[in-house]
């Protein structure tokens, strides 16, 4: 690929999604963008670059950006954040929100929905404690294809075995074909999915008591991370909880949040008194 074409595509993708593509990733760009060129009846990536220079067509730019996203996800990914949610965050909010009886949870960059549905399954397990409560779980993702998939709640045999205990498979899924499983309606109805971009208006309105934003900031450069974290902070109450992925942190990135010692992956607003959390445990 010509350097100026790589430059054109990578700038476009960076502006629209935050994803940083270094020249070593040119091969990835080529393999992922070739199907997009096909779809738009363009013979080559060179033609696609030419076409973009002539006219910045929205559907083409959308498809290019979507094609460059990495959507890997699985149920109860890394397990610990979900134990944290069940054993620490939920009990704490059951106390803190006792007057309102409402908790709003956001799975930001939800991909195909496994994270949001994992949280919904935990809420179903805790149903006795949540009697009379309104729990909103909202998943957003830049990728229209992923949002559509997430809404169907249909997963392959392979996907339902990665991270999901078989007891949960039996309890919360129905087999719709030999190797296809669909999350049951009662769980599906607990979660809403929408298209949304972390760089713009998020696609949803806060406030959110708990934000899971995992394995997406790793793709961004420092200024973008800082900006996104500040914006997320803006849709959270001062006593809200942020959960990031295992390779992500706020340290050296954002002053809006601080770490919670001993709880890897958990972050709270700068003014939050961490002792309150310890008191819940």
């Amino acid at each position: 690929m010509k350097p100026e074409d790589f430059e054109l595509f990578s700038t476009l993708v960076k502006q629209r999604s935050g994803l940083v593509l270094t020249p070593e990733k040119a091969y990835l760009l080529e393999s992922r963008l070739f199907p997009v060129a096909r779809k738009h009846s363009l013979k080559s990536l060179e033609d696609m670059a030419q076409s973009l220079r002539a006219r910045r067509e929205e559907t083409l730019m959308f498809d290019i950006t979507e094609a460059m996203t990495t959507n890997e996800s699985f149920f109860f990914r890394d397990q610990k954040p979900f134990t944290l949610f069940q054993k620490t965050l939920l009990p704490r909010l059951l106390t803190a929100r006792a007057a309102k009886k409402q908790i709003r949870i956001w799975s930001a960059a939800a991909s195909s929905g496994q994270e949001a549905y994992s949280l919904a399954m935990i809420c179903a397990e805790e149903a006795a404690k949540l009697q009379g409560w309104k729990i909103d779980i909202i998943g957003t993702d830049l990728s229209r294809e992923m949002v559509t998939r997430a809404k169907t709640g249909i997963y392959s045999q392979f996907e339902v075995q990665r991270g999901l205990p078989v007891t949960h498979l039996v309890k919360y899924f129905q087999q719709i074909a030999g190797d296809k499983w669909q999350i049951k309606d009662n769980i599906r109805q607990m979660v809403q999915f929408r298209e949304g971009n972390l760089l713009t208006d998020f696609g949803v309105a806060g406030p959110f008591d708990i934000v899971f934003c995992r394995n997406v900031l790793i793709y961004f450069d420092l200024p973008t991370k800082t900006r996104v974290l500040a914006a997320i902070n803006g849709v959270m109450p001062p006593d809200g909880f942020l959960v990031l992925g295992g390779a992500e942190t706020v340290l050296g990135v954002s002053d809006a949040f601080k770490i919670v010692t001993g709880e890897h992956g958990l972050y709270v607003g700068a003014s939050f008194d961490v002792a309150q959390l310890a008191a819940t445990k």
């Binding site: 397990q79 610990k80 392979f158 075995q161 078989v166 039996v170 129905q174 087999q175 030999g178």
Partner: protein
Amino acid sequence: MKTCLIVDDSRVIRKVARQIFEAIGYVCEDAENGQVALDACKAKLPDFILLDWNMPVMNGMEFLHALRQLPGGDRPSVVFCTTENDLGHIQEAMGAGANEYIMKPFDADIIRGKLEQLGLIEN
């Protein structure tokens, strides 16, 4: 060190599974059917058993029933690993005292995930 017994009539599966378990740090033995596995368990109970369903001589379900009757036979974690992939089989297996269930084909991630859920390895 944790011990693992791999029970499958396919030599290829036994080999693949062994590689995965040894990489995690298990000491492995294998058996090509339920009877051979049961004899091994009578000699010494492993910590973990990966169990195929359809096998000649003694199948996985028969083995599981016999295992759970042995003194201390309730202790090993048993994970079925089979091409049987319908809800009915899964429920039957869990009802008979299996701890987890894997539908073939599997990979190292699936096995590791199941071991984490059973608390047998840290994540």
